[in-house]
Symmetry: C2
Subunit: 292 residues, 2 copies
DNA sequence: ATTCATTGGTGCGTACTTACACCAATGCTT
DNA sequence: AAGCATTGGTGTAAGTACGCACCAATGAAT
C-alpha cells in the first residue's frame, strides 16, 4: 500500500546522497529511510542505489525510478497548487514570503491590520533569506526585491526602493575623515562598487556584517557609515542621513503569485492589500522627505 | 510521510466511485480507505469527494488532485517499466499473458520446456480473458489473437490461425439432418455469420456455451457440431473433422511486448522462444494435415 | 597519528495504522 | 411493501512501522 511513498524516499536519497540527509528532508528518522530502502530493494529484487565514494547514487536500474519520482513530484505539486487556486474560502492558512527587513520595518502595522480585517485567515510570514518556491507551495505570495523579472510568476512590479547613506548623529563630526569607515557585507572588497555611487566613494569598508539588523545596530553604535534602505533608516531613531546624500534607486519591488493561485479570493485580497499598502508608502520607500 | 499514497486512494475512489470498491482495488479494508479519506480531508481542510446519487465524485477542488494522481500513476508505471527493461538478469519473475486455450492446447509442452531450460526464471502465465495491459505491467509479454494491429506495442505478427467444423465420430451418421445443431456462443443469433462460412450454413445453433472447454466437451458428448480451432480439435481424441470442411483462416497471432521492455534479455529470450515454438506448429495451427 | 564528526545498520519499546467485526442507512428487487 | 444486498462509519484488538537508542565503520581535521 505504501508504494508511491517509496518514490519520495528515492527522490530524497537522490538529492541528498545520504540516508540521514534524505530522512531529514522527509522529516523522519534515518532508520526509517534505511529500512524502507532495504524493503524496496527486496521488493524490486534489484538495487536502486549504490554507495560510491560515500555517496548514494542511483544505479542504472534506479535511474528510471528517480526520473519517475521527479515527474510524480511535479504532478503532485501542480495538483496541490491547482487545488489551492480553487479554494473559494476566506479562511485558513495563507503564506506570504518576504524579506525580513520589509516585514519588520515597512509592513508590520499593515500586516497586523490585515489579520485584524480577516480574522479567519491564518497569515503565515515566511522570511527565509532564500526566495520561496511558489511552484512547491512554499508560499502563496511573495514580495520579492529584484531587478530580474520573475520566471513564470504573475503579479505586479511596483517601483524601485531607495537606499542612501546614514550614520549616528555625531559620527561625522567626531571622526577624522581618514578614519571614516563603511559598514559592509562579508564578501565586499575594500572599495566595492556600491561605495562608488555614494558621497564617500573613497572611504574604505571597515566592519563587514551579514545581518542587516546587526549592521544597522553597528551604525547606531557609531561604528561607521551604513548604506541602508531609506524606509528603514529614515524611520529609525538614532540615525541621520549623511548631508548631501541622495536616495539611490536600486531594485524593483514585486508582488507576485503563481498563476494557478491568482484567482483564489484569499490570495487576491492579500495581493491587493499589499499593493495598496506599499503604494501608500511610496515616498518613504523612494527616500523622499515625508513633508514634500 | 504517507502523502503520495493518498493519491492512490484518490485515484481508486474516482475510478470505483465507492469506498469499498476503492479498497478492493487497493487490496485493503474499506475502513482504511474511509479513515484515510477523512484524514486527507482534514489535512487539506477541504472535501476532495462528495457523495452524489450514491456515488463518490471529486469536488471542484478535488478534480485537480485526481488529474495529478493520474499523471503520477502514469509516471510510476513508466518508471517501473523502464526499470524492468534494464534488468539484465535471467532470473526472477516473467509474466506471459495468453488465451487459456492456447496455453492449454497449443503451448503447454513448450512452456514447460522453457521453464526447464531457464530454471531461475519464474514464469507466470496470465490467462485472464481480458487483454493484459502491458503499460501497467500486468504482463511482460502477450500472445494476442486479433486482427487489429496493437496500439503501441512491439513484436511480430506470425500468421492466421484456422478454425474448422468438428463433431463426435458418429454424430453425423446418427443424427437426422433436420436435427443437426451447432454449438454456439451465448450471444449468437439462430444463424450467426460464422455459420454461413461453414459446410452447414443452414443448420441452426442449438446449445449456446460460453466456455471453449465446455463447448468442446459438449461436442465430445455428441451434442452438436462445433466450430473450433484446428490446433485444439485436430489433436483432440474423440472429435473428427466434418468431411469436406476446410480450415478457415481467422485472426492473426501476435507475440508482443512493450517497447520499454523489449531489450531485457529475459523478455527477449521468451519472445524468440514463443515465435519459434509457434512457427514450428504452423501446419497444425493453419489446419493443414500433419502428413502434408 | 589521533581525535572527532558523520555515516549507515540494528535491537527494542511505543505508537500508530490496519483488519475484523458489527452497525445504521440506502437502493434495488420481488 | 417487504426483504435483501450493498453502502459507509465506528469500536476493538492485532500487527506493523516508527523513533530512540547504541553500534561499528569511514573520512576529515588537528
Amino acid at each position: 500500500m505504501n508504494a508511491w511513498d517509496d518514490y519520495r524516499i528515492i527522490l530524497a536519497l537522490e538529492r541528498s546522497g545520504s540516508v540521514r540527509g534524505a530522512a531529514q528532508a522527509l522529516s523522519v528518522n534515518h532508520a526509517t529511510v534505511s529500512r524502507r530502502l532495504a524493503a524496496l530493494n527486496r521488493r524490486l529484487d534489484a538495487a536502486v542505489f549504490e554507495r560510491i565514494e560515500g555517496r548514494y547514487r542511483a544505479t542504472a536500474q534506479g535511474k528510471p525510478l528517480v526520473a519517475g519520482a521527479l515527474r510524480m513530484e511535479e504532478a503532485a505539486y501542480a495538483a496541490e497548487r491547482e487545488m489551492a487556486g480553487l479554494d473559494q474560502s476566506m479562511s485558513g492558512r495563507l503564506t506570504l514570503s518576504l524579506p525580513d527587513v520589509v516585514a519588520k520595518c515597512l509592513l508590520m502595522e499593515d500586516l497586523g491590520r490585515f489579520c485584524h480585517e480577516h480574522p479567519d485567515i491564518e497569515l503565515v510570514l515566511h522570511t527565509s533569506h532564500s526566495f520561496a518556491d511558489l511552484d512547491r507551495r512554499e508560499a502563496d505570495l511573495v514580495l520579492r526585491i529584484s531587478n530580474h523579472p520573475p520566471d513564470h510568476l504573475v503579479g505586479r512590479r511596483l517601483f524601485k526602493y531607495a537606499r542612501s547613506c546614514y550614520c549616528a548623529p555625531h559620527y561625522l563630526a567626531n571622526t577624522a575623515f581618514a578614519r571614516l569607515r563603511w559598514l559592509g557585507w562579508p564578501d565586499d572588497a575594500d572599495r566595492p562598487e556600491w561605495v562608488q555611487e555614494t558621497v564617500f566613494p573613497d572611504v574604505p569598508v571597515g566592519m563587514r556584517i551579514e545581518d542587516p539588523m546587526v549592521r544597522h545596530a553597528a551604525a547606531l553604535a557609531g561604528h561607521g557609515l551604513i548604506f541602508d534602505a531609506c524606509f528603514v533608516a529614515d524611520r529609525a531613531a538614532g540615525l541621520v542621513r549623511v548631508p548631501g546624500a541622495l536616495p539611490i534607486l536600486d531594485r524593483d519591488i514585486w508582488v507576485l503569485t503563481h498563476p494557478d493561485m491568482k484567482a483564489a479570493p484569499k490570495v487576491a485580497v492579500l495581493f491587493r492589500f499589499l499593493v495598496e499598502a506599499i503604494s501608500l508608502k511610496r515616498g518613504l520607500i523612494e527616500g523622499r522627505p515625508a513633508t514634500a
